[in-house]
């Protein structure tokens, strides 16, 4: 019966995708993509994949739309089609169709959905489900797989977020002395941006002032309670970043940068990756393998090797949360201010 929910939601998702393509006003497309992520979250939740659903919820509702809106704010708003590019569009259509057909062909080789005899279900999943509590004291198997058994993968995922932030920052950041020269050289880019005036909305300011503490408290709970409930570093970090973005949107950049300045952004985003890799290196020096947390009981007081793994996972999650939080905030600041870091959405 829950399959019925899935089918309705998936067909609505398909409709959302088509609709987003059909709307010429890019703001409309961005907003329709919000619905896409809402419905995707429901599909994950109906399948019982709550950690994925949580990630989709936080990223889709918190930062995804905001990033796209701020990109449109600093670029253009209309989807322009040039008629004489018909050949190019035809070529792209063919390429997309071929790639889609190849992907569909590959899907037939995958095991059936929910197949009990597939390799993943016979070897891997059962091992994790049976041994997670005994080996790590973590009831939420997803967290123990993510942060311990598959620690390498998660470390490099954190690095991907880090690199994404550094890439956007390096591409967009304009130094103030250079921007003055650039403004005289290219007056066209200045003209497309509307004149900026300070807008004081008491309602939005008061609402965000009331909401931000609760959001941050909830985010800390998500990070710290990831061992027992869905959530963890990524989700908590995104919520923390979204609360900072909300402050920057409802006040102005001056207020936002007084909380977390540009220098601190760069420092903290590196610190998060450093915490993760540092825990791995400490294991190295204590005689274990890289990211083999059980040897940490030698330096952590009053723990056995099993509890040490549980504690080290929390440390790792804090590192992930730090990197993700500051990355989201920094990406928003870069995108909405066009790299100038002075004023934005």
């Amino acid at each position: 019966m829950i399959l019925g929910f899935d089918i309705i939601c998936l067909s609505l998702i398909l409709l959302c995708a088509v609709l987003a393509l059909c709307i010429r006003d890019l703001m409309g497309s961005v907003i329709v993509f919000g619905a896409y992520s809402f419905l995707m979250c429901v599909v994950w939740a109906c399948n019982g994949a709550i950690d994925v659903a949580f990630t989709e919820a936080t990223v889709g509702a918190g930062v995804g739309t905001v990033f796209l809106v701020s990109t449109i704010y600093s670029t253009t708003r209309m989807d322009t089609f040039k008629k004489n590019r018909l050949l190019k569009q035809l070529f792209m259509f063919v390429v997309v169709c071929v790639v889609g057909a190849l992907l569909l062909k590959t899907v037939t080789d995958l095991p059936q959905w929910g197949d009990a005899n597939s390799p993943a279900n016979t070897h891997l999943s059962s091992y994790y489900i049976e041994n997670s509590i005994d080996q790590t004291h973590v009831p939420n198997v997803v967290t123990s797989v993510l942060a311990d058994y598959r620690g390498f993968d998660t470390m490099f995922e954190t690095c991907v977020v880090f690199v994404a932030f550094i890439g956007i920052f390096a591409l967009l950041r304009i130094r103030k002395s250079k921007s003055k020269k650039a403004a005289t050289n290219q007056p066209t880019t200045e003209l497309t941006l509307p004149p900026h005036q300070e807008v004081d909305s008491l309602i939005i300011k008061t609402a965000s002032h009331l909401m931000v503490p609760f959001m941050q408290l909830f985010a800390l709970y998500v990070v710290a309670h990831g061992h027992y409930s869905p959530g963890g570093g990524f989700q908590g970090g995104v919520i923390l970043g979204a609360s900072l973005i909300l402050l920057a949107v409802s006040y102005n950049f001056k207020k936002a940068l007084s909380i977390l300045s540009e220098k601190k952004i760069i420092l903290l985003v590196s610190l998060g990756v450093l915490i993760y890799a540092g825990i791995g290196v400490i294991c190295f020096f204590l005689g274990g393998n890289f990211l083999d947390y059980s040897v940490l009981h030698k330096i952590l007081p009053a723990t056995d090797p099993i509890m040490a793994r549980s504690h080290a996972m929390l440390g790792v999650e804090i590192g992930v949360a730090l990197t993700v939080m500051v990355s989201m905030y920094g990406i928003y600041l870069s995108l909405s201010s066009n790299g100038r870091f002075d004023k934005g959405l």
Binding site: M27, G34, A45, A57, M215, L345
Partner: protein, 96 residues
């Protein structure tokens, strides 16, 4: 109890379809924004209902709270966008 939950979920989904018509038709962006916000609210309810069906509400309620906290950021952001741009229709006037 379970059949009641299924019925409630289906009812919400039908409502969601009705709201979706506004997102498809919606002449202006604000109509679409409003309908998407309503869809978000319905999704929160659907997630809680899914949690009740799986009888693990303690797991699903976190997602619902997270959604509830974050759902309005996009609306605030879009409102700010229109405060700067002033016009509701795209500048070139050649809307679809």
């Amino acid at each position: 109890m379970i059949s009641f939950l299924y019925a409630a979920g289906l009812f919400l989904l039908v409502n969601l379809l009705l709201v979706f018509i506004r997102a498809v038709q919606g002449p202006t962006v604000i109509d679409r924004l409003l309908s998407i916000n309503v869809i978000g609210t319905k999704c929160i309810n659907l997630i809680v209902i899914a949690g009740l069906i799986f009888s693990r509400l303690d797991m699903f309620v976190d997602i619902a709270i997270g959604y509830g906290l974050l759902n309005y950021i996009a609306a605030v952001c879009t409102a700010k966008f229109y405060q700067h741009h002033k016009t509701l229709s795209p500048d070139s006037g050649a809307s679809s």
